[in-house]
Amino acid sequence: MSKSIQNRHLLLSYGLLILVALVFVWPLVFMLAASVTPNEQVLARASGLGALLSRDWTWSNYKSVLGQLEFFSFLRNSIFIVGVIVLSGLVVNSMAGYALSRLRWSGREAVLAVVIALMVIPYEALAVPLFFEMTVVGWINSYQVQIVPFIANAFSIYLFYTFFNSIPRELDEAARMDRASPLQTFFHVAAPLARPAFASVAILSFLMNWGVFLWPLMVTRGPGYQPLPVALGYFSANKPVRWGDIMAFGTLMVIPVLMVFLIFQKGFVKGIARTGIKG
């Protein structure tokens, strides 16, 4: 290839990449811009960078969102619910993945088959009967109704299972010969070696559960136990629409997600890719 053709190709590639990047980034910029624009001005101005660059740039939307005690209550709910799901999920699902990968027990095949079958079923498909079940148990409008059903996760179990399969079996056997019980082998040998799997599952589980909308909408009544997305949903439905406040709310809600994503980006994308290749 001649130099000039190569350069033209390069220019074309970057041009296209930047154009597409704008499409993907613009709504986020748009949200940020709107969040610092006075409520009544948003519609008129927010379509561009104009809002961000204009002089009457304001923190008042953030002040009004943060000024409500309820925002912190929603934030606390979200953090608590997602935190408990992620942490207890890591323990419960990794142990199950380990038992499936390493121990030979009656029922292993059956449990593995169930896990694989359940992997494709989205929780939304079960929302109605689960809603019924939770109503019967009397858990409606609580923390546990948003936490307990989502700790055990077929997909996480499967991810751990495949990861443990990739660790040499001899290491487990060596630990058993060194007089470690299966549980000790798991904690001292297998789990420390599966750190990448723990990271992938933690990040995936955090992001999935942080955005959950349908379930809390079904099982919460009023702001007491509502997480951020549902609160945002109700907030955006209030009339008159206060666009600036909504966007400030949204910005505050997406910050933790962006932080987690940008910190763990590499492992995260790898984790997703791993799930796809095996299909």
């Binding site: 519609l43 038992a99 359940l118 494709v120 009967p129 055990a152 955005g211 079904m218 890719a273 791993r274």
Partner: protein, 298 residues
């Protein structure tokens, strides 16, 4: 085979928290759903519980609301699955070039995937705002040179509401498919391309005869996930349109939500859930079959 005794005890001990969780919150609801779907169960209903047989299913299949919901889901899938997969493939090819700064572009393209759908919906609500100064209205005005009567109320227009939902859904989800296809692209052995080159294959021929066959399984997987996703359509509907106008954007899940949460018709909602399972099962089987066939050919 004789099992090591210690293993069996430990196996059950270590797996049981997860197994119990899956049984109580996935398998049991599944069974309950099938049972409830044959009843008239309602919360707080003064009427006695009645066995309905297939009544709920017949009601659903003759209800114009539900049929419209199914139709909407199918329409959504029919448009979004091929468009999103195609776009994802193009994006994957675009970011698979060995150029400086490529990882930044990959990150940017992928980012919407991690945003909570509720957030994406409210941002796009503002983009679609029915005012002459709304972003989408401006874009339309720009490209139609003022021929279109502004402002359009996109989300309250029976013809435009669904396409708008589709556009934002694709925008939000395409990065996920891109990442999976990118990984598959990078898994294609370089030697295959070199061999094809030596055999005289040009760019297009290499794409058709090397890239595409190697991507087949990943494409099927991606299409399957997107199809199931298409039937989970709910968050953006609730926030943006509540199924309107005139059921133009209602979906199966939205109908199930309204029936069980707002009208307490648990039996009816359960019947919808069962239909949802059947659908997920069929899609999975189709994917399974497609992938296996490919292996046989190889």
């Amino acid at each position: 085979m004789k099992l090591p005794r210690g293993d069996t005890v430990w196996g059950w001990i270590m797996a049981s928290p997860a197994v119990i969780g899956l049984l109580l919150f996935m398998v049991l609801p599944f069974v309950v759903a099938i049972g409830l779907s044959f009843t008239t169960y309602r919360f707080n209903s003064p009427l006695p519980l009645r066995w309905e047989g297939l009544g709920n299913y017949i009601d659903l299949l003759t209800s114009s609301d539900f049929l419209r919901a199914v139709l909407n889901n199918i329409m959504f899938a029919a448009v979004v699955v091929p468009v999103q997969t195609g776009l994802a493939l193009m994006l994957a090819l675009l970011v698979n070039q060995r150029l400086r700064g490529m990882s930044v572009f990959r990150t940017l393209f992928f980012m919407p995937v991690i945003y909570p759908m509720a957030l994406v919906a409210v941002v796009w609500a503002l983009i679609f705002a029915p005012a002459p100064t709304g972003l989408m209205n401006r874009i339309v005005a720009l490209f139609s040179f003022g021929h279109v009567q502004a402002p359009i109320d996109f989300l309250r227009n029976g013809y435009l509401a669904m396409p708008c939902i589709m556009v934002m859904s694709i925008w939000q989800g395409v990065g996920f498919q891109m990442v999976i296809l990118l990984a598959a692209l990078q898994g294609v052995p370089e030697t295959l391309y070199e061999a094809a080159r030596i055999d005289g294959a040009g760019r297009v021929a290499r794409f058709r005869h090397v890239t595409m066959p190697q991507l087949r399984n990943s494409l099927i997987f991606v299409a399957m996930v997107t199809t199931i996703l298409a039937f989970r359509l709910f968050d953006q509907i609730w926030i943006l349109t509540r199924g309107g106008p005139n059921n133009a954007t209602t979906t199966v899940l939205y109908q199930a939500f309204v029936a069980s949460r707002e009208r307490n018709q648990i039996g009816l909602g359960a019947a919808m859930a069962v239909l949802f399972f059947i659908f997920v099962g069929v899609v999975t089987l189709v994917q399974h079959f497609g992938v296996r066939q490919h292996r046989e050919i190889q």
